[in-house]
Subunit: 347 residues, 2 copies
DNA sequence: CTGTTAGCGCCTTCAT
DNA sequence: ATGAAGGCGCTAACAG
C-alpha cells in the first residue's frame, strides 16, 4: 500500500497525480491544467503542450469524486436490472449499452426495484446521493408513470421502448415490431404460403399489439385471409396449447409468433402431430434468442447494438445540452434471420 | 429547478440537506452529526435523538462524492459484462448481485473488456478515477492472470468460479458442477438406467472437467460401465452430432449433458431417430435455462441468488476488514429440476 | 491567456 | 462527549 515517488531502488510507483502535481511539473497553475482539459480552446498551444506532456509523464487522470463534488455531474447513467427482461435480450443490450456509454465516457450503474413505485423511490436516492446524470428505462408499458416523474424532477432519461400512452415528451429508442412481423409475413408469402396465422400475447402489452399489427397489415396488403390470431402468455406450454387451437381452427401453413418462446411451443405441437416444421407448417419467432439458434427457428433479430448506441447518445446529449430542441425518437428495424423453420410451402 | 425552503404557498421543496444544515437544525456541530452517523457509540443518547430527528425532517442523506473524496472509498463494486456469459445465466446473477450488494449499501458499476489484458487495463482507470472498492470476477479459467494482478495492487476481489490453477488466495464462490452431474446420474440410476453416457465440452475449460468428473465418479460408485463420453463445443448442432456419435457408439439409455444447449442437441438427435426423449433415452441438461423449461428438459439449477449473496458478502468483508484471516471459499450445490426428459427407463 | 481565491460536503485531527 | 480547523481534488468566478 505504501507509495513512494522518490528515486529509491526498484520501480518507482508514482504517488497519485493530481491537478496540483501536474501544474507544478509543467510550471503553471492548477487552473491552467484544468483549462487544458476542459477548455482547450482558451489556452496557448505551447502551454498546452507543456501541460499535456506533464499529464502524460505523470499518468494523470482527473478524480471523478472531486469533479463530481464540484460540478454535480457524475458521468453515470443508471439502469434497472430485472430478473426477467421481456424477450430475454437483456444481457446483450446491457453489454452494448455499457460499451456505448463508455465510448462517451459514461458508466452504467445498476439498481433494482420491485415495481414502478419502488423504482421511483430509487430515483430519489440515486439522484440525491450519487448525482446520477440520467436514466435508461426499459420495459415501458401502458400506464407507465416513470418518465413523467423524471421529467417533473427535471432529470434526463431515455427509454428503450416507446411510450404506449402519450405520457410526455422524452427521447426514446425502439425496435419496430410491426416492421418485423411484416417482414416475416411477406417472406412467408413469397415462399408461397396463403394461410398465415399469428400466435401472440394477450392484449394490453403494447409490444404485443405492435407485433400483431405488422402481421395483420401485411396479410391485408397481400389480399389474404386474416385468420383470427391465437393468444397465450409467454410460456412454451401455453404457447403450445394456443398453437394447437390455432391449427385446429384455421389450418395455417405458416405461423408468425410474437416471441421465440411461443414459437417453440408451436414447434412442439407441430412435431407432436407428426408434422414437419418448415415443410408442413412454417414457424417464425421473434428476438433471435438462443432458443431460435438451437431450434433452427427463423426469427427476428433486434439491432441491440444500435439501440444501445442511440440510447447512450440521446442521454448524453440531454445531459450536456439541457435545453435542447425536441426529443429525438428512433425506431429501428429488426432483421429477419432465416432458418429451417420457414421453408417454402410444400407443393 | 428552482428550490426554496421558505414557508411560501404550495409544497415546500427542501433544498439539499447537508451535514451543516442538519447540524444547524439540531443545534449541534457538523462533527456531531457525522458522529451520529458513523460512530453512534460515542454520542450521548439525547443528542443522538435530536440529530436523528433533524436528519429525518430534512431528509438528509450523505453525499457519496464528498464521502468518497475524503475516505477514498466509493461503495461501488465493478463487474465486467461480457456479451456471452458461459451458461447464459448472467442476467439472473446480475439481478441477484445488484440486490445483494444493495442490501449491504454497495452499488454495481459495469465495464467491458475484450480480453483479460483489456480487463487489467480497465482496472487501472476504474481504481484511479472511480475509487472502485472491489471487483466481482466471472469466467475464471486456467491461466487466469486477473486475480494475481488485483492481489498485487492490493485490491479486494471475489470470483464467481474457482481458480482452476492455484493462482493465489482470494475468496471465491462457485457451484459444484460435479455434485450436480452426480445428482443427475444417481437420479437416473434410481430410475433404472444402466447405460448412462455423458455429452460434454472439449477439454480444458475447468467447468467442463468438473461436470464430467461428477458423472464419472457416480458411474463408478454405482458399479456401472463407464461409457466413453462424447464432446462438442457449446452449440446445439455440434451437440447433436456428438450425441449421434455417442448413441451409435455406446447405446445409452440416458445422457447427462454439460449444458442445456448440448442437451437440446441430444434431444434433436433422439427425436430425429424416431425415439422418444425420456422413454427411450433420458436426457439431463445443466443450468436450468429458458431452454430447459421450454423443452421439458430436466436440468440442474444454479443457486444464483445464494452465489450473489456470498459474493457481495465476501467482497464487503474484504473491503471493510482489509487484513482479515484467510479468504473464505464457498461451494454451493445446484439443484436437480426434474422434467419429462428423465422418465424411468422403459421396461 | 493565466493565476488567485474560494468552496463543493464530508471526515480526520486535535482541542476543549 | 462535543466543537473548531483543515483539507481531500477539482472548477467557477474573478483578477491581472
Amino acid at each position: 500500500m505504501a507509495e513512494h515517488s522518490g528515486t529509491g531502488p526498484g520501480r518507482t510507483i508514482p504517488a497519485r497525480a493530481t491537478l496540483g502535481s501536474v501544474a507544478a511539473r509543467a510550471g503553471v497553475s492548477k487552473q491552467t491544467v484544468s483549462n487544458v482539459i476542459n477548455s482547450p480552446h482558451m489556452v496557448r498551444e505551447d502551454t498546452a503542450a507543456k501541460v499535456l506532456a506533464a499529464i502524460d509523464e505523470l499518468g494523470y487522470r482527473p478524480h471523478r469524486a472531486a469533479q463530481q463534488l464540484r460540478t454535480r455531474r457524475s458521468r453515470v447513467f443508471a439502469l434497472r436490472v430485472q430478473n426477467r427482461f421481456p424477450d430475454a435480450v437483456f444481457d446483450r443490450f446491457l453489454h452494448a449499452l455499457t460499451g456505448a456509454a463508455g465510448a462517451l465516457d459514461y458508466r452504467i450503474m445498476l439498481y433494482t426495484a420491485d415495481d414502478d413505485a419502488g423504482e421511483i423511490t430509487a430515483y430519489d436516492e440515486l439522484l440525491d446521493r450519487w448525482d446520477i446524470d440520467g436514466f435508461v428505462l426499459t420495459g415501458t408499458h401502458p400506464g407507465d408513470t416513470r418518465t413523467a416523474h423524471l421529467s417533473r424532477v427535471g432529470v434526463p432519461c431515455v427509454t428503450f421502448g416507446r411510450p404506449w400512452d402519450d405520457s410526455g415528451h422524452h427521447p426514446w429508442v425502439d425496435v419496430d415490431g410491426a416492421a418485423g412481423t411484416r417482414a416475416a409475413t411477406e417472406h412467408l408469402v413469397r415462399q408461397g404460403h396463403r394461410r398465415i396465422g399469428f400466435l401472440g400475447w394477450p392484449d394490453g402489452s403494447g409490444v404485443g399489439g405492435d407485433r400483431l399489427s405488422g402481421w395483420a397489415n401485411a396479410i391485408r396488403d397481400a389480399g389474404l385471409d386474416l385468420l383470427p390470431p391465437s393468444r397465450a402468455v409467454n410460456d412454451a406450454e401455453q404457447g403450445r396449447s394456443a398453437a394447437a387451437e390455432l391449427i385446429d381452427r384455421t389450418h395455417p401453413t405458416a405461423i408468425v409468433c410474437a416471441s421465440d418462446v411461443l414459437a417453440l411451443g408451436a414447434i412442439s405441437e407441430i412435431t407432436a402431430r407428426g408434422m414437419n416444421v418448415g415443410a408442413d407448417v412454417a414457424v417464425i419467432g421473434f428476438d433471435d434468442t438462443d432458443i431460435s439458434a438451437v431450434a433452427g427457428l427463423s426469427s427476428l433479430a433486434q439491432p441491440l447494438v444500435d439501440v444501445a448506441a442511440h440510447c447512450a447518445r440521446l442521454l448524453a446529449t440531454l445531459v450536456e445540452n439541457p435545453s435542447d430542441s425536441r426529443p429525438e425518437q428512433v425506431l429501428l428495424e429488426p432483421q429477419l434471420v432465416i432458418r429451417s423453420s420457414s421453408a417454402p410451402v410444400r407443393r
